[in-house]
Homo-oligomer: 450 residues x 2
Amino acid sequence: MRKKLHKKVFKALIEGRKFQEIRDMFNYYNMVDLALMVEDCSLDQVLMLFKILKREISAEMFTYLSYTKQEELINAFTSLEIKGMLENLYSDDIVDFLEELPSNLVKKILQSATEDQRSEINLLLSYPEDSAGYMMTTDFVELKLSDTVKRAIARIKTQGKVAETISNCYIVNENRTLVGSIRLREILFADEDEMISEIMDTDVISVVTSDDREEVANVFKKYDFSVLPVVNDEKKLIGIITADDIIDVLLEETTEDIQKIAAIIPMEGSYTETNILEMAKSRVSWLIILMVSATFTGLIIQGYEQTLTLIPALAASMPMIMSTAGNAGSQSSIMVIRGISVDNMSIKDFWLVIWKELKIGLVIGLVLFVVNVLRLMIFTPEVGLTTDLVISTTVFITILMANITGGLLPLIALIFKQDPAAMASPLITTIVDALALIVYFRLAMYFLSI
Amino acid sequence: MRKKLHKKVFKALIEGRKFQEIRDMFNYYNMVDLALMVEDCSLDQVLMLFKILKREISAEMFTYLSYTKQEELINAFTSLEIKGMLENLYSDDIVDFLEELPSNLVKKILQSATEDQRSEINLLLSYPEDSAGYMMTTDFVELKLSDTVKRAIARIKTQGKVAETISNCYIVNENRTLVGSIRLREILFADEDEMISEIMDTDVISVVTSDDREEVANVFKKYDFSVLPVVNDEKKLIGIITADDIIDVLLEETTEDIQKIAAIIPMEGSYTETNILEMAKSRVSWLIILMVSATFTGLIIQGYEQTLTLIPALAASMPMIMSTAGNAGSQSSIMVIRGISVDNMSIKDFWLVIWKELKIGLVIGLVLFVVNVLRLMIFTPEVGLTTDLVISTTVFITILMANITGGLLPLIALIFKQDPAAMASPLITTIVDALALIVYFRLAMYFLSI
């Protein structure tokens, strides 16, 4: 069974410079767990590890370290050490940490890279940061249209040593145009003399280098693939993307969506790592916009100042009405925002949303009406029943309005080609607050006969 | 290159009953795209497809159809047809649609299943719905500790035909205890006579059948795996889970998180498919809780009724102060909620959060103070500067309080073993609204000398 990796044992071996035991440990345990412990070692200790471990193992370890640790190491490495490490890394991993390094260190690395690696790295770095080209790796197995199964297996044995995955292989014609794909198992189960062109799948789904990573993630979601080939504009095969990279993309995209919902301008980096000014910047602009737009809600209240002075009891219910409006509105808007991003909802669902939110609003509104009448009778028995009914009727109408506005706003954002999450969520509260207050004061004036 | 599948061509072939062309089409195109078109065919047409297509192809098609279509088909199938289809499906796919069928049809299917399949299906159905046991497939490649590479390849060739993936194989000892894992490529690159036990990886990371699917997703995220073995409580290997299933889990979990943030009780099913009552139910309880808790905000306002009557201008700024408080509070809480679920933030970060939110609050508060003074001077020049300063100081203090409360509430939820997203997001507005109003009226009474 699996043995647990203990921090104390790890430290003791490193500090005691028990080279053989350290090598055994790195052969045995998963690198993700080991790297977490290496993270706490001193620079000298990590450099010692790079000296005593096999190059492919230390190179793998390097990819799991934090950017700060990686930078320290590159700084300390000789160009020979860098060369040795680069030989054992996939090109997409190299680009991953290059991106975070200061430019003098990037230069140091590119000088130690081989001619081939340098052009691969430059190719990857030339794509926009969120594109398929940037994410892909150029280490994959490429078969030729004229290969037999036997020839293909030979190719896999050579290319497979450096490829990131061999479970899917891709077939190109004499122009390097992508013409087919095949799974390793199909090759293994086939006859040695069969032609690859006869057993390959010719309906290859691929992405283009310039595709946005969100589009790439959508293709993975739709087809449940584990690997996708990447082609350039001339349909030539130039890389692959694997599903595990997509899991990271999905997480980042989700964080972005959630931040937008909370009126935060999306930013990368974890809470603990990002600095104060950057965080303040990402939050302050929406706060200003919303604060200024609350001016209009204020103007509405000012317009009914006289009503408020005559019936001071009305003021006490304002927060409840506004918060109920805001809550109901964001519930509806979030259901539709999620529907747009996951279930392909679009402007065609305009009437469906209106109809559905109207019906849901009727049910919820009725329940809240009853609960609110009871609440008022219990907490403020001194206020008359007419006032209770005015307040509760306002809640009922507010729910209907908030539901429909909340449901439609993300669709309207789509019409104006805006991001539904970024536009709808922050604005919805301001809009339904204003609507709710107008209804409230109108009803009060009418029924409390002012 | 890839040819596009056209709806018109598809329909013409189906309606014209061009059997050979239909078979060619199903051999050529990706099933995800084909199934979308089959969805729009009549029941008779789909039954015709099941008659003319190869069984493994029609079985794959079945898994991509909607639950309603699947139910119609099972209803129409003879038990022989069901038997033929079951033989070509993975057990986890069978369980997937069984779950959605009415019980009389489940019975019909179980009767047509072989003894082996029936016990596999019953095993999978016996696990809780969100567990690893429920998600896993029992179709995988299992090698023995005593196998040579040659023997292993032979096993892969037999078991591999029905296994969901062969890129990773798992090794068990004589008690069927999981003792190692190996990638197919390592087997292919090894000598025929080598022992599997010598080249396998003994630090196998696995999940237990009872693990929640969110934990499983976290293991995939942490280690970037494409397959994970599933063991029972006695460490015996009983299934595998593949990365593409995790993409779906992540999407569902994200939807749940986002719903919680919007004060919706998480529910499955898309916006367009879920019925009115279910949707109303998932939304109404938080609306009631928040409405009733807004009573306390109301009581605060009531307590300062006299102040409001004396300076009516104060009422106009209440919505702005409350919405700013709510927005700032949810910004902070969402940053921390996301930090908990993605970056392992926990109670240990208590002081870090206070310190960080305090500093962010100072920056944002200062900016908003200045903007607000300007806003008031422009929009309500008739109100005196002292009042402007009172309102703007309230905004400044509110931001500080909202940031710290918003940041800490998710951590406090953790202490009480509550879900941070479900607890913190809905409550934060009510709490900071109340705090903000108290500060507002206190400052007003003090500086406007009432």
